[in-house]
């Protein structure tokens, strides 16, 4: 069975994710309203502005159904803004899914001129270092027991996490040609 992966398409670089997922032979659909969630095997929340995406999730009644899906074992992967939306607490009042037991600090590196690229070792990902692109990126602060840390920067700060069916990365695999994390997520969707 070819898995059907939704990509939340309210704002951000959703087209980069759908292109990458289609390149892996999966069917990928844009999700803008609740009925678009029907028949999906997994959902990617792309990079973008978390405040914008959060407001549109709330406005179009997507926050509850996506939260319910995530709580019931449905695979969700958040990149950058998506990671922020998955967090329980970001220290500011904004609409969140709150599915992952972690705190996230937004714009943790400062403004755009502090954005960077670097190589990361990602736990359990074969094939060597992963070239990661960080743009006005968040970092994960503290994590609960249920959260596995998959990658850290050299200074120890957490930038990739997994909690069962939920995956979060502070960087943007969709901006590179490396599809290994997309493949990992498709495998999660297949197994769920």
């Amino acid at each position: 069975m070819t898995p059907v992966i939704g990509v939340l398409a309210l704002q951000g670089d959703f087209a980069e994710h759908t292109a990458m997922l289609r390149g892996l032979g999966t069917e990928s659909r844009e999700v803008r309203v609740p009925r678009d969630l029907e028949g999906l095997d997994g959902l990617v929340i792309p990079g973008g502005e978390s405040t914008t995406i959060g407001k549109l999730l709330e406005m179009y009644a997507l926050l509850e159904p996506v939260r319910d899906l995530g709580a019931s074992g449905f695979p969700i992967w958040g990149t950058c803004a998506g990671l922020i939306l998955l967090a329980k607490d970001v220290g500011k009042p904004q609409p969140l899914l709150g599915l992952m037991d972690m705190t996230v600090e937004r714009n943790a590196f400062g403004r755009q001129i502090a954005s960077f690229e670097t190589d990361l070792d990602i736990d359990g990902l074969p094939g060597g270092a992963f070239h990661a692109v960080f743009i006005r990126a968040p970092i994960v602060g503290s994590v609960g027991d249920a959260v596995d840390v998959l990658a850290r920067l050299d200074d120890g700060r957490i930038v990739a996490v997994r909690q069962g069916n939920l995956l979060g990365t502070a960087f943007h695999p969709e901006l590179t040609a490396d599809a290994r994390l997309h493949r990992l997520f498709v495998d999660m969707a297949r197994a769920a």
Binding site: Q11, E16, T52, K55, I113, S115
Partner: protein
């Protein structure tokens, strides 16, 4: 660790796609824009409609205002510098703005030269009317493009003309033979390597937003339907009767640009749009889009 790479510069624009970037002149306006769901704000001294109305020299915004705007919101803050005014651009970079718009809306500082944008850490967005102008700016280092439209008019006709021109040029390029590309590059005065790569990829190497004349949610959706990656709204929000409500409706229309039912609902009860000036009633010297080359 590498900073300020093309990937990182172009990448921020990719994160803004499907979003609305709103012109603001104060921290209060920036907060209204963020609360309405803007993906970023553009700080400037006066919105284009006021530049038209009051005349005089339009310059970069007061640094004090930019700092206040940065403190008021968590979304990216962009700011405009005058065409060719590389010192204004350096100031904006020193202030930590997330993107610099080298903009024809301000009074040009140099009639022959645009800023050499490769030399900067901060990424730049520039205006264009056609693919030649877009590729010249990208050649100079622009990490994002916007079609110019005619700012401060509330008349979408020029934005449509420019977007149709760019998208039409893109489609034509993809059907050309190799030997036709060099002539095309010469005709549109664009670097051949960029022309060849666009022909191969079938798209610009950077994100392209629409700008200049968007005043209603339907205008924003129209630009998205014509191929824009997102929308800049200048005077259209804060020169309308109820900016907060209109801003939110433009955000909704930009996301749901393919769904007329949603746009119709979002467009109800917005109050008065900005008054506007028909683009065709402007004298040639009043046009902003013809600034830059």
């Amino acid at each position: 660790m590498e900073k300020n790479t093309l990937t990182v510069k172009r990448g921020l624009a990719q994160m803004l796609k499907g979003g609305v970037i709103m012109d603001v002149v104060t921290a209060e306006q920036a907060k209204i824009a963020e609360d309405a769901g803007a993906a970023a704000v553009m700080a400037l001294e006066r919105v284009p409609a006021d530049i038209r109305a009051h005349g005089g020299v339009a310059r970069m915004a007061d640094p004090e205002k930019i700092v206040e705007i940065q403190a008021a919101v968590t979304i990216p803050v962009m700011a405009k510098c005058r065409i060719g005014h590389f010192v204004e651009a350096e100031l904006l970079q020193a202030l930590g703005v997330d993107y610099v718009d080298e903009s024809e809306v301000l009074t040009p500082a140099d009639e022959a030269h645009h800023v050499d944008k490769h030399g900067f850490d901060v990424p730049f967005v520039c205006g264009c009317r056609n693919i030649g102008e877009a590729l010249r700016r990208i050649g100079e280092g622009a990490a994002m493009i916007r079609t110019k439209g005619e700012a401060g008019t509330g008349d979408v006709v020029e934005a449509v003309r420019h977007m149709r021109t760019v998208m039409g040029d893109l489609r034509r390029l993809t059907t050309m033979r190799e030997d036709e590309l060099a002539t095309f590059a010469k005709d549109v005065q664009a670097p051949l390597d960029l022309v060849a790569s666009v022909a191969r990829e079938g798209r610009l190497p950077v994100v392209n937003f629409a700008a200049g004349g968007v005043a209603t949610p339907a205008d924003a959706a129209l630009m998205m339907r014509l191929g824009a990656d997102g929308v800049f709204v200048g005077s259209g929000i804060f020169k309308s009767s109820d900016p907060a409500i209109r801003a939110k409706a433009v955000v909704e229309a930009t996301t749901h640009y393919q769904d007329a039912g949603i746009i119709a609902t979002a467009s109800r009860g917005l109050g008065e749009p900005m008054t506007g000036i028909a683009r065709d009633t402007l004298a040639p010297e009043e046009l902003l889009a013809t600034r830059g080359w």
